[in-house]
Amino acid sequence: MEMMIYAILSLKNYSGNLNALLVNMQDNDGMNLEAVSFDGIAAVVSNIEKTSVIADKSNAIAYAGVIETLMPYFTLLPMRYGSIMESTVMIEKMLERNHDEMQQILEKVENKFEFGLKIFCDSEKLRSELSIKMQEDTIAPTNHSTETINSVFREYVNKKLKEHRLEELMLTYVDSVAAGINEYLDRWNAISKFKKMSTAANIIDAVFLLDKDKKEALIRAVEDLQKQHASLTFILTGPWPPYNFVDFTIK
């Protein structure tokens, strides 16, 4: 029997009975959760058969459910699904070995939530609008000889140039939307990670780590931005445990 690790908790501000809390929470297989503690931090674990660690939807959702149930009580570092060690003794040694680094990251994410923001566009419509704008902005070409105008090479270069300009316009547009978001994030000292143009339709895929008390302000800001960019679809998700802000590999 192995031990599945769900999260590393900070016990700094928790005065309740951790084991009593965990007894009331059961994971998806009905196994009891337990805590392995070391000097102010604890790993929440449960017994598990290695063969039952299958990456399917129900297991992943159940695993996330345990972490989210812990989230209101503790500052925590969520573990990736499938993190398994052989015994509580090994887990305790692991906590001891990684204690300082874990404490540092726990401090970084203390009193903070993660949010995800995805922004979608109708890519064909947006490209067509930008293409019209590009044509309007383009200065009419000067006269060339018939030979040059009909040149296949020139046609090809013009086509590529147009595509390149359209890409540039798309990026400028996406940057302007991102700048609107960053204006708010800077005000709140949020940490953020942005991916632009993940797919043709998903123009922005961002995650933020910000103070818990900024949640309502974030929702209002996204509503405002949605009004400013009516042709885009803003999808805000969260609050999440800080999955995207715990870049740490346990030794």
Binding site: V53, A55, M79, Y81, G82, S83, T237, W240
Partner: protein
């Protein structure tokens, strides 16, 4: 239209959750043990899944699907 947005946002929330649980979080070196089920495999990578959402929408709207 509004219902579509809600459905899509539910799908995205599930994808976001799966992406986080399976792909983010603290890593335990060498001990990630995940079997892949023959059926009900949900994780293909968010980018791929989002592409398939796009593809489904193109199908629904009757627009031609352009392979990228």
């Amino acid at each position: 239209m509004h219902d579509n947005v809600i459905d899509r946002s539910k799908d995205i929330t599930i994808l976001e959750l799966l992406d986080r649980v399976l792909n983010k979080g603290v890593i335990l070196t060498g001990d990630i043990v995940i079997s892949v089920a023959d059926v009900d495999l949900v994780y293909l990578g968010v980018k791929l899944m989002l592409c398939s959402v796009e593809t489904m929408e193109q199908l629904k709207s009757g627009k031609p699907i352009v392979e990228k």
